[in-house]
Assembly symmetry: C2
Homo-oligomer: 214 residues x 2
């Protein structure tokens, strides 16, 4: 079955999915990287980004690996693709991930500014979608060919798809940190009214993994 899902999305215990003041030096906002301390030591991470091979048998790694399984297309907000705001000045920015991004499938980037499709090494193609979240989802579903569409983030993008009722399943990784400020995932969104209930809560090595479904 093809689901629209959020997976391996990190939150602080006070509910923030990114810190404040995102910029090129702090792509996840100030202290935002603290949210992902559970992910960095996993084999899933090292497989994507190189470096010494990470933990392959941890609970955290299991969740990280499953987050990539059966994903046929991604949708990303523009700020997750890069730090540039406003019109694209040129095509030099090709994402945070180098020549061979860890997606390996079509990735639809939400933006208000048109840009030519970008074909990267390893099967990743970035499509820039300027006509809204519904259009991006339609395109992503088509591209996914029956597999899942993963809404990669950031917080604002997930909130838009949540509010529109498009997300079927969410795996959230609560990291043992308090950010105090930043981008709240749920504030002002009634996840219960949207039909979500808690499917499972699993204590990992460095995060508490919560799965929500409806």
């Amino acid at each position: 079955m093809s689901n629209v899902r959020v997976a391996a999305f990190s939150l602080s215990l006070d509910g923030f999915g990114a810190g404040p003041n995102q910029n090129i030096d702090n792509p996840l906002g100030i202290r935002g990287t603290e949210l992902h301390q559970w992910f960095f030591p996993t084999k899933a991470f090292s497989s994507m980004h190189g470096g010494p091979e990470g933990e392959s048998t941890s609970i955290d790694n299991g969740f990280a690996e499953r987050s990539f399984e059966n994903v046929g297309a991604w949708i990303l907000g523009r700020n997750m693709f890069g730090p540039i705001r406003g019109p694209w000045n040129d095509d030099s920015w090709k994402g945070w991930w180098g020549d061979s991004p860890p997606y390996h499938v079509p990735v639809f980037v939400l933006t208000h500014h048109a840009r030519a499709t970008l074909t990267m090494d390893g099967g990743t193609t970035f499509y820039f979608v300027t006509d809204g979240i519904e259009s991006a989802l339609t395109k992503a579903r088509e591209a996914a060919g029956g597999k899942d569409v993963r809404i990669g983030g950031g917080v604002s993008t997930i909130r838009q798809y949540l509010s529109a009722g498009h997300i079927d399943e969410m795996h959230l990784a609560f990291s043992p940190v308090l950010l105090g400020e930043g981008e709240s995932l749920f504030h002002g969104i009634n996840a219960s009214e949207l039909g979500f209930t808690v499917s499972s809560v699993v204590s990992g090595e460095r995060a508490t993994h919560v799965t929500l479904a409806r």
Copy 2:
């Protein structure tokens, strides 16, 4: 050492400490009792409220029991004491807990409306404090005689003491539910800036126990 602490305080995974629309039928707000499903099966609960003896060896019970240890005085918001709003019409309301409330120490109830001190069975005395949270804390510290002051709740009371910088330690029990709406503990409060960090995260049988300290 005498600490001001919050303990065994239940939250939903989306950060609510009570549901909306508190009233006499829903003292914890709509669906608020779902937050406390971890507590009801414990021996700590049955010791307080009677009924068949609860679990004595569970992780959840350990946290519940420790929440009562070394507590010399409590502070409660008025809505936690009862459903009556505005002036006390008479003295017939004596709390939700019957003749012998499970506190057994002085309890300071924050209210805007004066009322005579209420001496209950089993060592609980309710004092009604009309001159603010600082005054209540001073009185509670004195009454506690070197033991801890426990801020029992509800959410609004904890938020006031948090914002004023008076809370030293918090044990929060995250229940596996989404409330969607209600009273958010942290919204608009920067727990990190207040100096809190996460001391521990422990997976219990029916809740995830998070301890914050500063």
